[in-house]
């Protein structure tokens, strides 16, 4: 490894392959997403080569795996710098990278080339049946691989954390990552009783995305904002604890909103109506936090693209997880919307806003430094910022389309007490929205290509403008406002 003068600790460089893999798998995820967008309109597109269930499995599994790559890369980058010491074992981190990449790639190839039942048989699903449940479709060896990679990472990072400075950001990040790994163990729990199976399945799915992942998100967001705004840690730390307190206070009992109609007792309706209604609060706090940090910034970092991703993440996360979640979280609303296209609209905007954008924000901040500069050129940053807008608009169109489709579906198929429209007949009526969704997906793909392109735009690295009022940027800082009035 050649010496990188920008990195404070050379071992942070292990994050680079993780970020590259994350972006590569992100591209795969979107390609399969567009493919499914077509299959919603032309049902027999690519059948039987790639049936819908295979495409969906690839789409969702790639999402999970690339976000995990992103989280891991982020942790390997952040923890040494925060702890002010080199990573305990860079070699272990690199070995784990290759194990995870190969295991992930083999799994996707398996999905695409082998019939699922055959894959289950080949990989020992009859020894311990864990497959065939939404998002947890991975064969047993892959699941075991994920546990090994996660434990090795936690060991590596915990050793680094323990020997160095303990900041709030790394403490919260480590809590989130440990929670992620421990809750994943419930993917091995698959009771014969479907109701019990579903109840514990949510311990992975819900307690990840509406629980411990929010800790990881808060840590990443706070890190990028501290680095780019220079705001005092004491202030940031307090915000983080308040945000994650609300995240877990509402999120843990908020699991109840998944327990309404899967065979569990009715009291979960009451619990869910109260606590999941409050789940937008932590996301709203994150939005306030991001804007407050930028307003109170003490510096104008040369990397303004990273600031845009971070603020964008806070806003879109609130819209997707907060607003679109609240839309159908009340049990008497969910009674009609449960398992409809409305569910899909929320899923898309929440994952994009909260987790896709937070990982990209971190990559946007870290990647230039991993390539030996504080920030990319103005031209590269400009393209990167445009890609944010194009992707977000594409996603916005998709989400509105799915919301429209979902409302129509509820109206035709769920609301009527007699003569309700059968599922497939209702789907035919929703075709306008499916075209709109595909259009949005196409725009998103264009934005993604722009994002990829921005890595190859050259030019002199942007520099921080010190003291002089800067043009562009997100908001005037208090210092700039004072200048105007003087």
């Amino acid at each position: 490894m050649t010496h990188n003068p920008i990195l404070k600790y050379q071992s942070q460089a292990v994050a680079k392959p993780y970020f590259i893999a994350a972006i590569g798998l992100f591209v795969g995820q979107i390609i399969f997403g567009v493919l499914m967008g077509i299959q919603y309109i032309y049902g027999d597109f690519l059948f039987p080569a790639i049936p819908f269930n295979v495409a969906r499995m690839v789409h969702t599994n790639l999402l999970i795996v690339w976000l995990l790559f992103g989280f891991m890369g982020a942790a390997y980058y952040m923890v040494p710098e925060e702890a002010e010491t080199e990573l305990y074992s860079p070699k272990l981190a690199l070995v784990m990278f290759w194990i995870f990449l190969v295991a992930g790639a083999l799994t996707i190839v398996g999905y695409l080339l082998v019939p699922y039942a055959k894959l289950a048989e080949m990989t020992g699903n009859n020894l311990l049946a864990t497959m065939g449940r939404e998002f947890l479709e991975q064969p047993l060896p892959t699941k075991v691989g994920i546990v090994i990679v996660a434990l090795a990472m936690l060991f590596n990072l915990s050793m680094t954390y323990l020997k160095g400075r303990k900041t709030t950001i790394t403490t919260v990040l480590m809590l989130g990552l440990w929670g992620l790994a421990l809750l994943f163990l419930f993917s091995f729990v698959n009771p014969h009783n479907l109701v019990r199976d579903k109840m514990y399945w949510w311990w992975v799915v819900h307690l990840w995305v509406e629980g411990v992942w929010e800790l990881i998100m808060a840590a990443l967001l706070a890190y990028v904002l501290i680095k780019t705004t220079g705001v005092d840690r004491e202030v940031v730390d307090k915000w983080i604890y308040v945000i994650i307190a609300f995240a877990l206070f509402t999120g843990i009992l908020g699991t109840a909103h998944h327990y309404y109609f899967i065979g569990l007792p009715g009291y979960w309706h009451l619990v869910g109506n109260i606590f999941s209604s409050l789940e937008p609060i932590p996301f709203f706090l994150m939005t306030m936090f991001a804007f407050r940090m930028v307003q109170r910034r003490r510096r104008d970092h040369a990397n303004q693209a990273a600031v845009l991703w971070a603020v964008g993440c806070a806003v879109m996360g609130f819209l997707g997880a907060g607003v679109w979640g609240f839309l159908h979280t009340l049990s008497w609303v969910n009674y009609y919307t449960h398992g409809s296209q409305l569910t899909a609209s929320h899923g898309h905007l929440a994952f994009y806003g909260a987790y896709v954008l937070v990982v990209i924000a971190l990559i946007s901040y870290a990647m230039p430094t991993l390539r030996g500069r504080i920030a990319n050129s103005h031209k590269a940053q400009s393209l990167e910022m445009w890609s944010f807008w194009v992707m977000s608009i594409g996603m916005g169109v998709m989400v509105l389309a799915m919301t429209g489709a979902g409302i129509l579906q509820v109206w035709l198929q769920r609301m009527p007490t007699s003569g309700a429209m059968p599922f497939m007949a209702a789907q035919d009526q929703m075709m306008f929205f499916y075209w709109m969704r595909l259009g949005g997906g196409g725009v998103f793909l264009i934005g993604l290509v722009m994002y990829l392109w921005s890595f190859f735009v050259g030019g002199a690295p942007a520099e921080e403008s010190l003291g002089t009022p800067r043009r562009g940027g997100l908001m005037p800082s208090p210092a700039q406002r004072r200048l105007k009035h003087d």
């Binding site: 299959q39 027999d44 819908f52 699922y116 939404e134 109701v195 307090k238 843990i252 065979g263 007792p265």
Partner: protein, 150 residues
């Protein structure tokens, strides 16, 4: 949340509220789940959960049915809800026969229509699947779905 840290709400207070409160809510959640566990046998009619039902769940899982369908509203939204399909297709009179015939007839090959793969299940596997879907139809899901169309 002022920048002024003298007195007022401090970082340490925020941290303690986070740890204490989270522990409290975890305990409440686990307590509720513990109680719920004891209601599941009755609500899911566990007594009717034969070995065929258990094998049927395996068939369901090993063919990734959840990748297109929903079951009690969870799964993909590409194909119909199946927790109540047994009842929708005629219940004890014809539900089982319909499901088996349907599975054997796939894919339809109708141009432009959504296609269901042919899974080449044995008669025994089809019977198990029917038993599983028949059992799932009896789960007390708080009157969901709103109507028979799922």
């Amino acid at each position: 949340m002022s920048t002024n840290s003298s007195g007022g709400f401090t970082k340490e207070m925020a941290r303690n509220i986070f740890y204490g409160g989270s522990l409290f809510f975890i305990l409440v959640f686990v307590g509720l789940v513990f109680h719920t566990e004891r209601t599941i046998p009755e609500r899911s009619n566990e007594a009717a959960m034969t070995e065929a039902v258990v094998r049927g769940k395996m068939v369901w899982e090993q063919n990734n049915c959840i990748g297109c369908h929903t079951l009690l509203g969870e799964g993909a939204y590409f194909a119909p809800e199946l927790a109540n399909v047994y009842q929708r297709r005629g219940g004890d009179a014809s539900g089982g026969a319909f499901i088996k015939a349907w599975m054997k007839a796939q894919p339809t090959g109708a141009p432009g229509r959504r296609q269901m793969p042919q899974f080449n299940l044995t008669d025994g596997q089809l019977d198990d699947l029917v038993e599983f879907l028949k059992w799932s139809n009896g789960i007390n899901a708080e009157k969901w779905p709103p109507n028979i169309e799922g």
